[in-house]
Amino acid sequence: MLTVENLGHKYGKRRFALRNISFSLEQGYLCCLVGANGAGKTTLLKTIYGVLCPSAGRVLYQGEQVTRANAKGKEYYKGLCRYHKEVAFVGGDEWCFPNATMQENVETLKTFYENFDEGEYGRLLEVFGLKKAAREKTYPELSRGQQMLFQIAFAMARHPRLLLMDEPFANLDPVVKVDLVQLFQEKMKDEDISILLSTHLVDDISDMVDYVGLMKEGELVTYGDRESVFEEKKVDSLKAWILGGEK
């Protein structure tokens, strides 16, 4: 479903953020990217989504190239737009208009998605307790946790085939985390979506993870299915692996 080939990205001319990253993810699986702060997880997710342009390599979705090094031109944008209809990204602050309330935002942004499910969006707001905030608050007025939940609710209501999430559990209270994990499980089971996420809070999802990728200084040093990675690293959980210094 998603194939990343020799992907690289650099900020400026010299500072490499990603180097030679390759992996693939099949439909209906969850992949977790772990790594220290600054390891390149967010950059990798944004590059896969196409909001950052790779300096090397390419990304393929359903066998079709969606972004590559130095990509430009109308055809590239058209391809990227088609890709964005099926792929959602959660974690960036630039997904909505900051001076409008969330309700106003969604009224506008939903016009981009033919299959936007208002019922599902409303249900998720109810679950997350965000109905009032949606009417009254703008994005910057929300807490970091609420911002993340709004993004997740909006992304889920689009029924994406692939969901990219950058630290979705950061700043969330334990009760909401449980709801969220349950939601991910439901979506993966009912809609067969794939999830690629980065997190430090591996405890919350360690049972759900199918694939694990360890990033270090812009490189994907380990990637594989959970069992094989644990076997290779001689640990029995993600947490143990990370606490053991990610060796």
């Binding site: 400026g12 196409g50 909001v51 944008y77 737009c81 964005h84 630039e94 409008a100």
Partner: protein, 379 residues
């Protein structure tokens, strides 16, 4: 995409910001048209045109690119990219609307210039300066859109920023200096250090004084700049209000000064008041008298030593010795004045006698007879 342009945020934006955007927008247009009407100086007109372009640009950026909902157009592009919108389609539509509206307004501005009989070169320069900032901005937008996924070099940033801001900076300094001179003149007059008549003798100061709309334009520009930086504080509402007051004030000032234009004739002097400033000319300074037509209207001018021409028609004319209320009395008065001036040695001319006779058709029999006699003695 169409839905985005026509519904949702756009409507919300219009509902919230339409009024003040339009105050700025229409106000800027009126202001420039007013400037065209009241100024005859080439540099002023060109500056007015370029500032109009900048004001228009600011309004368009705000209005079409939804800046007031908290975005620069680059931010808008990034938001749209997050949602799979094709920026080419969006900006194609936006720029078509923008250029169409800009074209219509530039044509209106040009028509106004032509209407007021300005030089073609000035007309073209002003229209060009009104349109060019929009085009530059369009190119910059296009550049950033194409390069959105790439690192833009520092030099490129400086170049594109310089293209917009250097002319703006130069224009602001130019107008700010004029504004400061005007304030100093006003202070000098208010504190009775100089009289208006003294000021009128100094051409450079008089030049500033007779263009009162310029300092208000400086204010307009500075406030717009401030509003760009502090739009989150909703200062634009206050800015718009101030601008509105400025526009109304400048229109009022213009009407007031227009009213102050009149000529008073005495037995020995001509007192000529322009925009509230009175200058005295002696009748024995008159070197020439000319009767002619302009736009089908009869004109009568006196040429003074030094080449200054005073129009004695089309202005509000008074005399210390009232001649009566009718035009016939006035033409009779001009006839007597002409005879007096010719006797003093002034030279008389009539240009386009046929045209003058043609324009006499609208006059009464008594007036026509006076004009006919004028033709006879001036030929």
């Amino acid at each position: 995409m169409e839905a985005f342009l026509n519904t949702g945020m756009r409507k919300e934006h219009e509902k919230r910001y339409w009024d003040r955007e339009m105050i700025l927008y229409v106000g800027a247009l009126l202001y420039c048209l007013l400037g065209v009407n009241t100024s005859s100086d080439r540099i002023d007109l060109i500056m007015a045109g370029s500032l109009y372009g900048m004001v228009l640009l600011t309004c368009f950026v705000k209005y079409f690119l939804y800046d007031e909902v908290g975005m620069t157009s680059g931010f808008l592009a990034r938001v749209l990219k997050y949602h799979g919108a094709d920026p080419y389609v969006l900006f194609g539509k936006v720029w078509k609307r923008l250029l169409l509206t800009e074209g219509i307004l530039a044509a209106l501005l040009g028509a106004s210039f032509v209407w007021h009989g300005k030089e073609p070169v000035v007309t073209l320069a002003v229209i060009g300066l009104a349109v060019v900032p929009i085009l530059i901005f369009a190119l910059i937008e296009k550049y950033f859109f194409y390069r959105m996924n790439h690192e833009i070099s520092g030099i490129a940033r400086v170049v594109v920023a310089g293209m917009v801001f250097i002319p703006l900076l130069v224009g602001t300094i130019f107008l700010a200096v004029k504004g400061i001179i005007l304030l100093m003149v006003c202070y000098a007059v208010v504190s009775n250090r100089v009289s208006l008549n003294q000021i009128s003798q100094d051409e450079s100061v008089y030049y500033v004084y007779q263009n009162p709309y310029l300092p208000v334009m400086v204010l307009l520009l500075l406030l717009l700049l401030v509003s760009r930086f502090y739009s989150r504080w909703r200062i634009t509402q206050y800015v718009s209000l101030v601008l509105l007051i400025g526009f109304v004030g400048s229109v009022g000032l213009s009407l007031y000064t227009e009213k102050q234009n009149h000529v008073c004739l005495t037995d020995t002097h001509i007192l000529c008041t322009e925009k509230g400033i009175t200058t005295e000319y002696r009748l024995d300074e008159v070197e020439g008298i000319c009767l002619f037509t302009e736009g089908g209207e009869l004109q009568y001018t006196l040429t003074l030593s030094g080449g200054k021409a005073l129009e004695l028609m089309g202005e509000e004319i008074t005399t210390t010795d009232a001649w009566g209320d009718s035009y016939a009395d006035y033409y009779d008065y001009l006839l007597k004045l002409t005879k007096q001036l010719l006797a003093q040695g002034a030279e008389g001319t009539v240009s386009n006698v046929e045209g003058v006779r043609q324009s006499m058709k609208n006059l009464s029999a008594e007036s026509s007879s006076s004009v006919e006699e004028l033709i006879q003695i001036l030929q």
